[in-house]
Symmetry: C2
Subunit: 150 residues, 2 copies
């Protein structure tokens, strides 16, 4: 199913994205650009850290969660336009070689209170690795247009 309007969403709807493999060179490249801390860049510093090995920046995991959601095409006709994110958590690190996928669940649908032709859809996103361990959770607040009057 592909959503087009606020009226197409209902609490409890779920979707699964495809999966993506996390490559060491991609997490190091991301860290160089956006999270240049030694334990994300260097094997030795990673071993000495609380992670005991190389891990992805949490922001990389969040960005990859976004990519998988966009590529799933589920909101292609609306565009995924977020006003914000709540309760973003990284309960476990992501490591090179992990395979991640995202589950989406509609948890709230609210028309604009000011009568504007749009509303806010809240979607709980849960990103898991190949062992079904949760590596990221968040609730995305998205702007969605209402269906025009006939």
């Amino acid at each position: 199913m592909a959503y087009r309007f606020l009226e197409d969403f209902a609490i409890g709807q779920t979707h699964e994205t495809g999966s993506a493999v996390v490559h060491l060179d991609e997490i190091v490249d991301f860290a160089h650009r956006y999270d240049p801390q030694p334990f994300h860049l260097d094997q030795e510093a990673a071993q000495a850290s609380i992670f005991k090995g190389m891990t992805a920046s949490g922001w990389y995991t969040a960005a990859l969660t976004m990519r998988l959601t966009v590529q799933s095409g589920v909101m292609k006709q609306i565009g995924i336009i977020g006003i914000g994110i709540d309760e973003l958590r990284w309960p476990r690190p992501v490591r090179p070689g992990d395979t991640l996928r995202v589950s989406l669940e509609v948890v709230d649908v609210k028309p604009s209170e000011r009568g504007q032709p749009r509303g806010i859809v809240s979607i709980r996103m849960t990103t898991r690795n190949q062992d079904d361990e949760i590596v990221l959770t968040e609730v995305a607040r998205l702007i969605v247009p209402r269906r025009p009057a006939a």
Copy 2:
């Protein structure tokens, strides 16, 4: 000042990062990798969108906020290790040519309730553009070690 231990943090402490200019090629490159929606990739699609022009992915703005914070060096000795983020909001779009900088404010300091040698520091981050308009706010929850007993 550079933080080393939980005991170095106090509610109300503030810091300012340096600034970074947002380049069109960087936001398009980021969008290709992590948020490949037409309105982040293509001038025409961007003009036709609610943004009326090219804008950065919100995840790019979050990643750049992280880079500026790391580069400020304020937590270099601890490492910025987040358990999560609350209340992430993007109140205004980021556009090519914008210059962003981040203000940090310590809003909570909590030792572990289980007597572990660490605690959680909550830092409100506010990212502004060259016109002092807020483009991102968030509250980061960071793991910070306690000072070892003498």
